[in-house]
Symmetry: D2
């Protein structure tokens, strides 16, 4: 359709290489939405007349209804335009006036990124809730704390779980930061330098639910850094999940702290007794995958001159896949959490394993006047020889057994962010409040966008009814 | 000093492998600052007395004055503590009370990240200014616009340069987003679960210029995602620079649009005539480097269980190197920009090369009633056959020569973000305003932090004077 | 089918997350081939009887004929086994005896990797031929040589193209290195520690066209480094292509050295005159993509304990995608090369641009007794002032114009690997010989494998006929 | 020294950015060696006379003796040349005749890569020996085998350790593959297109211990893929180490299978009882680091046109760092292995944990005529209900207790690569033979190179003595 300048058709293998159709299904509906908005803009600015607009919109509605199905061509934009022309005839040939695929694809990508980053945020909030619920459920459960995967000091499961929440809260904020740079409209910028047809860019931005426009037209079609923001936020989220997954995998293995629910476990094809935490391994694996996807997108982009280069297309699928799988991963984690059963007894039994009370002894010696570094040294020397240690401590009036009380230890940590009951309760209440707050932000964002999109459809209706 | 528990010293090769000393010089002063603040906190909470505090602070002052120089050991924390004990004796042994290297290193890293991300932001602002100045200098210069590195449509150099600015403005915002997650204090969290010694975490956070605390102690020592924020912002900045560098490299090559200033060029050791854009190639290369550094940090972190793991140490140097070189790269680009001389004549001469006015013809046909897709097709068919094209256009009353006026074309693009003079002026004024605004944000941030740090030193003075 | 141990079905979203079915289509035929071979092994070792073997093989033939189509389940192995049981009844339930999905998937992946790395090698050889043909076509064409994208010294197009060949020859060797580590059989290793059923591992390896077995069973099911070999070879190949693509993109832009054939170019949807080198941009973009795919695979694998972990599954699709697209990219490049038309006149005209003869002058001064570093300095000083330079040179009896003969310069470089005609001819002949040699290696490899596979099918026939 | 063409000195900050001096220390001695060889070549071909050669060589000897110390300038090549001129006067100015930094740096990098990849190979062999020794030490020790980190089937420690060896054997081969592409000489190729001075490239290649030349001169200076080979081999090695490290970390934690020797463990600064496997965590961390280093090198290289671009310089340090740290990591692992003490009792006690004998039961049912899939299902259903299971099995004449004998199970796996004593012994003997073979390859390589290097120094002597 576009190749009137050429004498030869594109090579079959080259077409297969450069065609984006296989992953364009991800933006099929967005492309149609962009078409609606653009047509309304053409009409508003009298570049086309109502009759043309009507015919195009009707064709688009038909295509939308029919779905992506049997589209073919170099890409979804061209394929839809061809269909519109098939259906709407001469009027259809006017749809692409004052527009380039360059601003069109940039707009579609931003719509996809926006909706999916919001969806990711929604799921992150739900996972945060599930975690805080679990923390409340096990609010007093004492457990061993680890560093270097070695027994370190006693702590509380609730304290540990709140740390999960806090990682994810930051991921939520990363998504929000990304959203702010994503939800801006490049439509109307044409190939790279705007167009001489009068277009109302703010109008069309509003129709599509954007919070503003990408101002400079060269920037609007040449930049893909909004995708990095999205993929980075998803990557960070996946890394948070990978750490949680790793701990559940370890804890459902030899540590024996938790039972992976059957609905999230798999069986071996040869070993009938196996119950494997496949879901968590896949999440951990997908965290590795997305690291490379972020890498790909950055490596593709490096050193590309302005404006559009076809290399950009290779970044699109990364946007789709990384967000889609991040959402699915968070969703599964969110479903898994409520059914996790922690083994309180094991956790508490092992809270003092491998001399986890050693710091307590050193601190007690400090309170008796021994400089900490010396106290540390003394405890280090005698820790594995209990009778000697006891003797040594008695000289300071310290009874070793008194220090082996995990509950006393964790409750004595009353500083901000510590393990005492008071602090745990404060943190849980605070996180609940933060979750509510983030829900409000998200809700108002959804409502703002939805009301604009509704308006788009209302305006389409109006055109059809004139 | 710490190995009283062990019977054997660490293996020499193992020590070389695990020692962080070679890159700890980057946090030497931060570690001392953290020590000051911690000692003040111990004193405030009566965990040590004034005499001890005085002696430790004096020792620290001496070490600070002496510099990193001949420190040795497993890491800078241990090395400084050892020196403090050498100088301050028994009092020195009290410095590490109620503290772990886990909260100590996390604090040092955040201080480094904070100061350097702010420094990066400062340099980005200056580069943005230099770019906007250049845009003003060449406000009316017409140039060819490219897509796929092929001549596309005429545009303006100022319009193109504003797009550079806008990329970098977003990078500034990424830094700001990172800063907000970085400038929170983990000090006081001890190993992973707080301490039973009473510590005022807000007090110490304030002394160190932080805007708040990392609340949950497990999270505070187990998380390094703030480093990803910093490295990601630096990576995004470097990618923006890489694209600018690529264009200057191309434009100072066959395109012949710009002259790379001699101060930023190198010569060949064999070919005496060469003037090579090495500075820009290195910047482009460093963009490739930092992609891998971000990758490294993510790959190291993936799937690590809580709390501290020594793997974290491998991320530290990535933080240092990526920020240091991003700052240097932006600084050099900022110095290079003012002396860039664009070759107006070449730019304007080539603005219409390779039928860059073709879109204009198609648009003109549209204005005469031809549907765009048809107009596109007609122009495509005849564009390389001027006499035929002229005939074709005459039928529509269009004079081809009238459409070949680049100036007319660029001025006709009056939509938001377009190339018309009015729009360029609006965008330049708007960017100046944004730069000023960002300068204000940065200035108030520096002032806020500096006044807190001043207070830290004032409190140290007061201890010494008691 | 496998979950008799469980009381609950797997969660729907978890299943979607962990199912590999969507990309298992890549190994569908390999899995069936593995089933054939395993059944023959079971029969040979009398673990099943002829009747069972017959029934299973018949079922497999039916499934093979029917294709991947409507398979469903957690993965292709389970799905095929279920179908076999549906068709072959009780006999079908015996197929998975003495086998695990762990050795099964490892075998399928190696078969895929083997066939596709060989296919890649075949295409690389063809591209090398196309390049050497082009070098012969332009054997005497003089062109400018560049460093730092600046004019450096005159060279020959044929010399430049031979360098393309040599990169790709090394990529071929990388593939060969990978192949040697890939084409070894893990089948028979069961879950991780072999099986007590007697199996002839060499027999089954032979049936599947392997060159040997992976000896240690734990290693056989726990290792995926053969995938890194394959993906690394593909990555290296793509990087070679990216450099060739970059040069063609540059050369078909302002440099104007070559015309991209229309069959490999695209048109703009808005700018009717555009002829864009999209195919080459996509290849360059896919080089960026595969860098991240390699990264993903390494990041997933890092630190995984033995034996099988489900994370491995995330690496499978990387193997498929990276090889498939590398093959397609090489294939398109191979088709593009013969139709590339270089613009001899432009190449020769620009061979001496920007004082590319400067080294020649310095060398001539050396021959007159001036130390090179001094000669370099003299030429550097006067190069842009021709009249002064001439005077300076006359003192040494050098006529500047004599040195400006590009042909003389390139022919004077007679050292090994230089640009003289003799050397070019030698290199072309040598490369042709190398290509032939590599073709022989590849041919004998294909024949060896094919004859083994033929034998597999012959043995199947024999079972069916008993 | 080189900037006679320029009127301005290079900007101070730009120089800092582009200078490679800080990491050039890694190739200081190689650069001097290259200078020696080049001077001998100039002399042999009468481009300089004996007197000049003598003076230059003397200057080089002096510089070599003095060491890298106080060199300054843009890079080591220029710095050394400047020193040579300082010492040798006019003669010194002749050293760089018929040479460019382009062929010089390529040669230095290949020398570094060659020596370090061989060093890595030497250490890998020693680690393989240490592992096989350990396997012999624990030849009969039964242990649990895991999949998905869940108890799977009993196996033997020796069998498991041989799998470690086999991974590393492949890494050795990767190094060897890399070596073959590395040890070829680019010297004499000058800037990109050879030189008209007659040079004997084979002679100089021999002097430097290379096994041949990189033939085409453009390829010789434009290619860095030999670095990818080296870094990839190092990365693969580090990934193998990361998996071993991960297992030792796990096994010295809750699994309690092994004791990390004190010489390779660290202590906490706060928790006196801690013995942390820091060495292994650092190795695991460095595996993450090197993934990104490989990524960086690939991302820098992608799409760079011929010939030299300064971006290449950013790859150099990656070569140095990745090989240096891979060598150190393997060395430490090699030292750690002999002192690892496995806890036989724990290993054997847990070999049958969590129904690890379940496969055995299913297999036994198969031997009684139950199709495997049914047997699997039966065992799955009853495995956690022992009394029911026993009853079920009795119907088939199977005594459950007979199947719970781990020793019997592992000895029954007599197939190739299985866990039976016979197979273990065969594999150990085979690995010893392979190690010896690889040692021979390495030894003859070292000898070949050393004898060539000796000859270089002999020829230098001869020049000095004329």
């Amino acid at each position: 359709m576009l190749r009137s300048r050429m004498k030869k058709e594109i090579d079959k293998d080259a077409l297969e290489l450069i065609s984006s159709l296989s992953h364009d299904k991800n933006i099929f509906y967005y492309d149609i939405m962009v078409d609606y908005a653009h047509v309304l803009n053409l009409l508003k600015n009298k570049i086309i007349n109502t009759n043309d607009a009507k015919k195009i919109i009707k064709a688009l509605l038909e295509i939308e209804k029919h779905g992506f199905g049997d589209l073919n061509g170099e890409d979804v934009h061209e394929a839809i335009e061809r269909k519109v022309i098939e259906i709407a005839g001469e009027s259809g040939k006017k749809m692409h006036t004052a527009r380039s695929r360059n601003d069109e694809i940039a707009t579609c990508l931003r719509l996809f990124a926006r909706d999916n980053i919001l969806n990711l945020m929604k799921n992150i909030i739900e996972l945060r809730k599930a975690i805080i619920n679990k923390a409340e459920e096990y609010i007093d459960t004492i457990m061993p704390g680890f560093t270097h995967l070695q027994y370190a000091q006693p702590t509380k499961l609730s304290h540990h779980l709140i740390a999960y929440h806090d990682m994810l809260e930051r991921d939520f904020k990363r998504c929000l930061n990304a959203f702010e740079r994503i939800n801006l409209c490049p439509l109307g910028c044409a190939a790279l330098a705007s167009t001489s047809f009068p277009l109302d860019r703010s109008y069309v931005a509003n129709l599509l639910g954007f919070d503003g426009v990408i101002d400079n037209c060269m920037d609007a079609v040449s930049s893909r850094d909004f995708i990095f923001d999205a993929v980075f936020a998803a990557t960070s989220t996946m890394l948070s999940l990978s750490r949680i997954a790793e701990e559940i995998i370890l804890w459902s293995s030899e540590f024996d702290f938790v039972e992976v629910p059957e609905e999230f476990a798999s069986v071996s094809s040869i070993m009938p007794q196996k119950k494997n935490p496949d879901t968590l391994e896949i999440i951990r694996g997908k965290a590795g995958k997305i690291i490379g996807e972020l890498t790909s997108s950055l490596a593709i982009y490096k050193g590309l001159p302005f404006a559009y280069n076809r290399d950009f297309q290779e970044i699109n699928d990364i946007l789709y896949e990384s967000l889609i799988w991040a959402i699915k991963s968070v969703k599964v984690m969110k479903k898994l959490f409520p059914s996790l059963v922690f083994k309180k007894e094991n956790l508490e039994k092992k809270a003092m394993k491998n001399f986890s009370y050693a710091t307590e002894i050193a601190d007690e010696l400090v309170k008796k006047g021994v400089p900490f570094r010396e106290a540390h040294s003394i405890v280090g020397k005698f820790i594995s020889n209990e009778s000697e240690l006891k003797k040594k401590l008695e000289k300071f009036g310290i009874i070793l057994e008194d220090l082996k009380d995990a509950k006393k230890i964790v409750e004595s940590r009353k500083n901000l962010g510590g393990t005492s009951k008071e602090e745990i309760i404060r943190m849980i209440e605070n996180r609940k409040w933060k979750i509510k707050n983030d829900e409000k932000i998200l809700k108002s964002t959804f409502e703002r966008i939805n009301s604009k999109i509704k308006n788009l459809y209302k305006e389409i209706e109006e055109v059809l009814c004139t």
